[in-house]
């Protein structure tokens, strides 16, 4: 008897939980998928958002911009995070599937070029950066600096920072074989800090004392120049939704979160540049 009662209770509880979970999931579940660069922003947004919207359940997957676009097109994701704009082919496929991608720019990803503080060079052009990273220029004396071999340091090719730099400063050309690779912003920073002839690049949020960030094409790397689009090595970060979210819906709240002060603080804290001066 006792045992039967327990079984019944458990089954009943299970049913109640199951039904309520299903109903709740339907209205309050969001899946965010895409870029590994935008992923940390989405993660932090989701965490902060779920504190104010206690019934929200947000899953964030970070597999790559292409995967995000595919997931939005297939209806598997509510929001696609992308570090590039959608390709023509992706857009066409989305429309074919009845999905209308709408882009929301949440912030900018700026990349600062850094050298050792003892290096007298304080300004480089993107053309000079291209020459350094493709191996055409190998000594600082060729750029008007001291006679010292250049140690070019790059982030690993899987990072978003590499993507920006490779596209905007190296013009997607092949990097020289002598370029060294490190696997994080702090490591790139540490290597340049301890290497006299070193040059590297890090996300804007990682520029600290101990290295020198050079001006690129005459523009210093800071939040103002990146947000205004004057600094050349930068790109916008996107969230894509299917159509513009219904005002008043949870998705609307989420998609406008980056405009709130808290949202902008998060973007800043993750090393990216918010669009406005909050």
């Amino acid at each position: 008897m006792m045992r039967n009662r327990w079984t019944a209770a458990v089954v009943l509880a299970g049913c109640v939980l199951g039904i309520s979970a299903a109903a709740w999931a339907q209205s309050r579940q969001m899946t965010i998928e895409g870029s590994t660069t935008v992923g940390p922003i989405a993660d932090a947004f989701a965490e902060a958002f779920m504190k104010t919207h206690e019934d929200a359940s947000i899953t964030v997957k970070k597999t790559g911009s292409g995967d995000g676009a595919a997931a939005l097109i297939d209806g598997r994701a509510t929001v696609a995070t992308m570090s590039r704009f959608m390709k023509d082919s992706e857009f066409a496929k989305a429309v074919e599937n009845g999905v209308m991608p709408v882009a929301h720019v949440v912030g900018m990803d700026g990349v600062a070029v850094i050298v050792h503080p003892s290096n007298p060079i304080s300004e480089l052009t993107t053309e000079q950066l291209r020459q350094i990273y493709t191996g055409q220029v190998t000594n600082w004396s060729q750029l008007g600096g001291p006679n010292m071999p250049i140690v070019a340091i790059s982030r690993d090719t899987s990072s978003g920072t590499y993507e920006v730099f490779h596209e905007k400063a190296v013009y997607k050309q092949n990097m020289a074989g002598s370029v060294e690779y490190v696997n994080s912003n702090p490591q790139a920073f540490a290597r340049v800090k301890s290497t006299q002839g070193g040059i590297g690049y890090v996300g804007l949020g990682f520029v600290q004392a101990g290295i020198k960030a050079v001006r690129v094409n005459g523009v210093p790397a800071n939040r103002a120049t990146v947000a205004s689009g004057r600094y050349p090595i930068a790109r916008p970060l996107f969230l894509f939704t299917d159509g513009y979210p219904e005002p008043g819906s949870m998705l609307f709240d989420f998609m406008t979160f980056h405009l709130t002060e808290r949202g902008q603080e998060i973007i800043d804290a993750k090393g990216f540049v918010p669009l406005t001066n909050y």
Binding site: T157, K172, G177, E180, Y181, N183, R191, T195, G198
Partner: protein, 329 residues
């Protein structure tokens, strides 16, 4: 005579007891006993075979993932080109620089780990008192227990700046740095296995050497080390395997530049290894794409190398065992 009497009685009693025992078990008890023994054996066999199964699965998995690349003739490019540009518009998959990088740091590591490891092993097995040996051995084994990422931090934050400052190198993240650290990581393996085989060469051999009038040095060089050479070779091969397979440390310490240094023996140039490439690029390579397949092919090459080395070390170890158990000298 009483002795005889007891002896005569005893077998009979024993026989009776033996004859009684099966009768104490009912058929069902007998069956249960048989089945539980069988189940126990099968269970243990299954548990043991999971290891073998895991190895087989890894082989199958990697071959399966690498196959499209290999089938499309990718190996020719891999072994024939120096250009590794897997994410370029027209991707290139030449792995020569990485094969060379792996070889260079391994040879570099062995150049300094083998003499140190071997001398330390000889010292521990033949020269030092037992008490000190008991003190030193655990300390050496601690070296093997330090995680490789900790070595990596040391390499990049301490050794690299030091080399730049004192050896006047333009970059401290280079083959020399990786070699030194790999050498330190391989030393415990080399010491512990070659010390075992030196120790196992036995007292008779040593005393025989002394009896023929040799000094300790002569006895060690002419008798003990030759007798233990198979075990020493196995130790060196295991050390090489440690160096070839290490990933985190080389990814942090070697600089990861995809180039073959010029001149070719230049240890102060930055290089990249097979393992570092796989670790660095696997996360970005899209599922089902040629880049991912090429990385699995690199893994397959690596697996082939370590498998060959493992077979070699097994061969030498079994030869060492046979020699020490009175087989062929």
């Amino acid at each position: 005579m009483p002795d005889n009497a007891t002896q005569a009685v005893q077998p009979q009693r024993a026989a009776t007891a033996d004859f009684d025992r099966p009768l104490l078990l009912t058929p069902s008890q007998d069956l249960t006993g048989f089945i539980s023994r069988l189940v126990g054996r099968v269970l243990l066999l299954t548990i043991t075979s999971t290891t073998i199964l895991a190895v087989l699965l890894i082989f199958v998995f990697i071959i399966q993932r690498a196959w499209p690349f290999v089938a499309a003739g990718g190996l020719a490019e891999m072994f024939g080109s120096r250009h590794w540009r897997p994410t370029a518009e027209a991707p290139q998959f030449g792995a020569l620089t990485m094969l060379y990088g792996s070889a260079l740091v391994t040879v570099g590591a062995m150049l300094f780990a083998v003499p140190i490891g071997l001398l330390a092993a000889v010292f521990l097995s033949d020269m030092v008192s037992f008490r000190i040996r008991q003190l030193i051995k655990p300390v050496i084994e601690i070296l093997a227990a330090i995680p490789s990422v900790a070595y990596g931090f040391f390499a990049i934050l301490v050794l690299a700046p030091w080399m730049q400052e004192h050896l006047n190198l333009s970059t401290g993240a280079n083959a020399l740095n990786a070699s030194l650290m790999l050498g330190i990581m391989a030393i415990p393996t080399i010491i512990s296995i070659s010390e075992d085989s030196l120790f196992a060469a036995g007292r008779e051999l040593r005393e025989g050497g002394y009896a023929l009038g040799s000094t300790r040095a002569e006895m060690l060089l002419r008798v003990v080390i030759p007798a233990a050479h198979s075990g020493i070779l196995a130790a060196i091969i295991l050390g090489i395997m440690r160096a070839v397979g290490e990933t985190m440390l080389v990814w942090m310490a070697s600089g990861n530049a995809t180039q073959i240094p010029s001149p070719w023996w230049d240890l102060t140039a930055s290089i990249r290894t097979l393992t570092a490439s796989i670790a660095a690029e696997m996360t970005e390579a899209p599922e089902g794409g040629i880049h991912r397949q090429s990385l699995f092919t690199l893994g397959l090459i690596l697996l082939g190398i370590t498998f060959g080395l493992n077979l070699a070390s097994e061969y030498f170890l079994s030869k060492a065992k046979r020699a020490l158990h009175g087989g062929k000298p």
